[in-house]
Point group: D3
Chain length 194, copies 6
């Protein structure tokens, strides 16, 4: 029962390149702790930079999806990929963005039965299919999305978030990335998520 952050060495903050260290310190200041994905990926600074550049490009951009909806995609696809780090960490983020203490557990276990809108269900159906059977996704799968008002750029967002976390889930399984204890409770108690 190893409780290591990662199977790989975790660098000390003072040994990190400055830009990487700054990014880590920023998130620490904001979250109050350093999410283990930062420590794990910092083992390779170039990949760290690329990963978070991708993440920010996608998760922070203006979109027809809300931030909570993007996190729903992360949680649902990480759920079917059985990725502990991503489900637990992004579950916390989803609870906070959605201001809903129950949504993350529901989406992680079975998005089909979660308290989401029909539009969100269509979004998650597409994401989960792309996550687990990408070859089966064809033009036909876009129709239900369009029927719910998703535009082409929204569909790119749904697919690209799924794709980025297909990468992320595999890095987490590869490294045995451990979720920080702090995530488990975040966003579960109304007062705590303010």
């Amino acid at each position: 029962m190893s409780k290591a952050v990662s199977r790989y060495p975790v660098p000390k903050l003072e040994d990190l390149p400055l830009d990487v260290r700054d990014r880590v310190l920023q998130v620490q200041e904001k979250a109050g702790f350093i999410p283990n994905v930062f420590l794990t990926l910092a083992h390779r600074p170039d990949e760290f930079r690329a990963f978070f550049a991708y993440h920010d490009a996608l998760m922070l951009r203006e979109s027809g999806l809300t931030k909570a909806e993007k996190e729903m995609i992360v949680v649902a696809t990480s759920g079917v990929n059985h990725c502990p780090y991503c489900v637990i960490a992004h579950g916390a983020i989803l609870r906070i963005y959605a201001k809903n203490p129950h949504i993350a557990d529901q989406v992680a276990v079975d998005h089909r039965k979660a308290d989401v809108t029909p539009r969100q269900k269509a979004m998650l159906n597409f994401a989960v299919k792309l996550a687990r059977a990408p070859e089966a996704v064809t033009e036909d799968d876009l129709q239900p999305l369009r029927a719910h008002g998703f535009g082409d750029e929204d569909i790119w967002d749904i697919g690209a978030v799924t794709a980025l976390f297909a990468l992320s889930n595999r890095m987490a399984h590869l490294t045995g990335m451990r979720a920080n204890d702090e995530f488990y409770l975040l966003g579960r108690i109304p007062a705590a998520s303010k």
Copy 2:
């Protein structure tokens, strides 16, 4: 986004047969609320009685497994069956029995990477295989269990808990059984689980 307890009518307490009502009131007194599985299954009192008789026979009996270990089996197999009610409700029970606020989320997402002992991992490997590919279970699958010191009766317990929740997961998916809001936070805060 129906938030109904069940797709089926939920009987009023006063309309229930006395023994069923007593059972419901007992759990309400103990838990402080009525878990929805009681309300859902009470739609058919005879099946209710049989289900809880089976449950008690198995979950309350003396065993080489601890109560927390039995709940681990429930959570791990309900996780691979993507059953929201069972993961959320029994996740709470597991947290309380194990006095561990993190274990349920870990086991539900991926028992292989959870903070469990190698013996518990062998137990969950067997349970998950029986849950999802029962036909593939052969005599050979008993060896790792025996190597970890599980006796024949322990193996029956592992298998029978898996089997009972194979039933239970399917009833939950069939009825759209909804997890009570109370379960989400139970056992997550040290003080709250005392």
Copy 3:
């Protein structure tokens, strides 16, 4: 090539609790032999009682399904779960109830191509999906059942029989439960099934 009834000890009739023994003797009188599921489960009388209480509650109750239809569900779902005991024993019961010597083999191998009505095919499609991919069952799966005239209580019956035999199939795989020789021929010869 063990031909044991079960991997577990099979109690002698005289060592069984009275009510369990009575149940066993009743079935022996009716069937002319003791089906091995009774001997196997009698190893644990409390679970025996709960299992048969559940079985009777479900299989003997008045329903929009005929007894033969309930057994079809058992045979089809046990077929996809590759459970020898349940396919062979309930195949015999299905032949007898349906007064049809061919139906059980057809349903066990591929319910889609069996000599059943379109209504029964819809019923078996639903049951087989719930048996093997319970998480994929949603509200949408109820529509074909309703289109064939199944009411809500009938749908509960279909699902609950599937769920009970999800349990039963796993107990049979766990214990290596062996089908009695008598079942193989039962109901195959018109005269023999009277």
Copy 4:
């Protein structure tokens, strides 16, 4: 509930080419009826000839496998391919060759739990893997066969019977080939199989 022999037209005996008709009459004389595979495939005489030439080359040749063992392979692989015609028709042939009224139902449902020798189990494990996941078969899969004394020619036989019935199962699913009523009972009653 069509009870047609095949989705395709079934030729009259008198319209068949002489050699095809002779083959059909031979089997009719031997079996007492015309198995539907002959009538179905006779729709295309050239393919009929090739199929039965393949069948005879493989099933009738001297081999380290007994005729019953070859039929076991047919029944086990047709079982996992859920092919009603092949399971029911070759199940009958297996019962007769093995002089065992129970073996076919066991092998069809789950070869892992059938009353077969460890050597036969290794043979069926290989066949079933080649039937359902041919790409996963590698040199490593030959070791258990060799450990049980199968020579290279025996292994070809196991694989080739599996391959021929991979073809046959698909033709049966394609044509909706119906098993003759006569097969169901053949070999089930000691006197009847003499």
Copy 5:
């Protein structure tokens, strides 16, 4: 890294029965080399004869499918069966028949996204389903084919080509059949395929 043609002995031409040798020499004259499937299967002349009789009956007959379409089916189904010999050898034949240097790689990797007509896509969808999940093919799967103008005999052709290569793919995996170097480039350069 064995580069043997087959795991099994490959006979010398002079040791082959005359008719088998003639067939081999014919293909050598036409192709300029002996495709390894001829050498591999010649290990058993009777099965060789039956295989090529089946092949010719099906691939050379007049049909509503073009020769290129039949080869598309071979390549698509061998692709999902991950069969190196059949993808590489029949990929070459497909390029030549279709006079298209790109089509084989596309169809082998994912027929859904290949440059084929909607009619051909329906044909390949059916073939791939029959190849990998034959039990799931029902009457309903014929409708899209009929909607694209395929007649009953065309559907037999689609299914039978799929079935024959279900056999062939398994023989190739069994024998470790190696694709000749010549196939890789055939049909890729306009001048070379004339």
Copy 6:
């Protein structure tokens, strides 16, 4: 049969941000054409930058894997993900790096039977498992890699290349990314790949 580069608009070179345009022009100069992945991803310059930063960090870094081995991983995992763009484009790159005109087709269809070393086979087994069943990857899967001399950083490389192309394959399926005609022949003719 659309032959568009992507389902999404493809920007004109002159409309691209300078750094993105430079990158595109560089690859065009080197390859003689612009691989469609550059045009497709340039639709979103920030994601373009992050993707190629990740790609370069991983594919160009010094490693215990050769460049050809990294491309083998791309081809094998894109093969099981049935991704036409990645199989066809990276197949070309693999042929060139490995100076082997046959290796890419072999690895794309079935890495288990390709002409690779046992060490490479272990590498590809791990990569394919992480690609398709990431949740099943555990500490145990590292042992065969270590036994073949792969160090921890090599294992990160294997996993990270797999992870990056898990992303890439999904973007290709999402956008319907089309492989350039030029890739099909690259590296197939000894003279052509110099």
